[in-house]
Amino acid sequence: MIEVVNLSKTFRVLEGKTGFVGAVKNLFSRDYRYVDAVRDISFTVKQGEMLGLIGPNGAGKSTTIKMLSGILMPTSGKALVNGIEPYKNRQENAMKVSVVFGQRTKLWWDLPCYESFELHRVMYRIPEKIYKQNLDEFMEFLELEEFWSRPVRQLSLGQRMRAEISVSLLHNPEVIYLDEPTIGMDAVAKERIRQFLINTNKSRNVTLIITSHDMADIEKLCSRVIIIDHGQIVYEGDFDEIRHRYGRERTMVVEFGEEYPEIELPYGTVIKDEGLKKSIQFLREQGTAIDLITTLGKKYVIKDVSIQEAEIESIIREIYEHGM
């Protein structure tokens, strides 16, 4: 159970003056600006829940995760993770949680993969039986065998993340924080990680808190989302609901079999024309994607179709424009 009450974090940022003269001035007088990265947010997460934290760049998602995991000290407010304040009891907290940063690694770069697992076993005092049981499971599901004795620096991004997530789960944490876990990965690798996280959540009743830019991550993994913007919660609730209420703009990319200089649309507009490939934007209430493609299929030769859902940025823009 995680309880966040009026949590805020303010950073002190040096206001740099520009140019050489400015740089010299900076040496003698410094102006600081105070940035409110997280402003007075409150929410709770139940044990075993999968929560998505989404928002544009610089919204305060990572700062929130860093306070919850004990890395950053809040400026005010309080977070309780299973009864303890993580940033005040870092070592006690560390035994019960795990953090995975997509852009960083806790594996030892120059050493074979298994060395990092062995270190984790010692550091977290994992009993031999549990260690073996977990390792066998991860080995099988994430196929760690193929790169087990290779130095981490030689692993692909997908392989590294498989190892990273496995090592993070070795000590049976109650909560896992994942900050952009699938960043930079190809579709197959992403899917594998997602499936593994879903299984882990079900079989171990572990709480997952995820931030991601990839809406598919959130859609597939999280039952509930919190949208953060400018350090504040702008939405909290069901993911399907925001999709339904706010993801009004959809884009269909159609690849035609022949060149058509002009195409007649029942609804929507062509927003990008790349010859055979055209992007058509339409609103949910105008009609469905199926109807649109059926109508087009009757008149034109179509080779391929894909649908792009609204990006998080445009959903947030809509929330602002139309209110909750």
Partner: protein, 266 residues
């Protein structure tokens, strides 16, 4: 106990990492033997021209110098690389993982960056110290030997303090703490000679402001039974304790500094 096992494991993995780059490892080891060897030689040659410094004979001055060197070479493998790495971690915000592991971030940092290439210098400094002590007529009695060990521990604590103080500043200033904490060569240059030969003001500075003279000068006064004028007669005996206390203050400052850690952009 479990923490000790973890620290050893980290240090072992760090050694393995260094050995992955075998050539670099041996080049470093070689360079350090050469640079320290030549330093000993220079001091020897310079002192050989004099009968002594002030009321201190040549072997006694070498005792001062060897205490300084031994405590430095014992502290450096823990601190030297860690200081550089800490600044990098703070600048890049990569200290994050240290704060979500069940071991003190300081122990984690030091064990990961422990340098194995100082062993030759430690051995050289220890041998020189023993020879110089013998030549100075040192009384190898139990209390004096214990005090000698305490003195070395005090020296290590002083260097640890400079590193930890620099680290704590780094959390606030991001850059530069390392240069404040790490540049202690000038202090060592001053205190490798008996500070009694300096003006009173400088003596006071090295005793009360930056107590570097407490690493070697004051303990040596007791160890070698020197009859010299002191600011206070208790200074020789309390010096190692003051240095050890400084080390403790350093740890407190560092832990406090962690609260300022701002991490990196996410």
């Amino acid at each position: 106990m479990a923490n000790f096992v973890t620290v050893f494991r980290l240090a072992y993995m760090n050694l393995r990492t260094q050995m992955e780059y075998r050539l670099s490892f041996f080049i470093w080891l070689g360079i350090k033997v050469l640079s320290y060897g030549s330093e000993y030689l220079i001091v020897w040659m310079v002192l050989d021209r004099f009968k002594g410094i002030g009321s201190w004979s040549i072997p006694e001055v070498i005792v001062l110098w060897a205490i300084l060197q031994l405590s430095y070479t014992l502290a450096a493998p823990f601190l030297f690389h860690s200081a550089g790495k800490l600044e990098q971690h703070i600048v890049r915000g990569s200290l994050d993982y240290f704060l979500v592991q069940p071991i003190h971030p300081l122990a984690n940092l030091i064990a990961r960056n422990f340098s194995w290439t100082y062993s030759s210098q430690q051995l050289m400094s220890a041998v020189v110290l023993v020879i110089a002590l013998n030549a100075s007529g040192f009384d190898w009695s139990l209390p004096k030997v214990c005090f000698l060990l305490l003195t070395i521990l005090g020296g290590i604590s002083f260097y640890a303090f400079t590193f930890l103080f620099g680290g704590a500043l780094n959390f606030r200033m991001i850059h530069g703490g390392r240069s404040i904490g790490g540049n202690i060569r000038w202090l060592m240059d001053l205190t490798q000679y008996p500070i009694g030969i300096y003006p009173k003001q400088l003596q006071a500075f090295l005793t009360f402001v930056v107590p570097a003279a407490m690493i070697n000068y004051y303990p040596a006064v007791y160890l070698l039974d020197k009859q010299v004028e002191l600011f206070h007669p208790s200074l020789p005996l309390i010096s190692p304790l003051v240095e050890i206390a400084l080390g403790q203050i350093g740890i407190r400052l560092f832990t406090k500094g962690l609260e300022w850690y701002q991490s990196g952009g996410g």
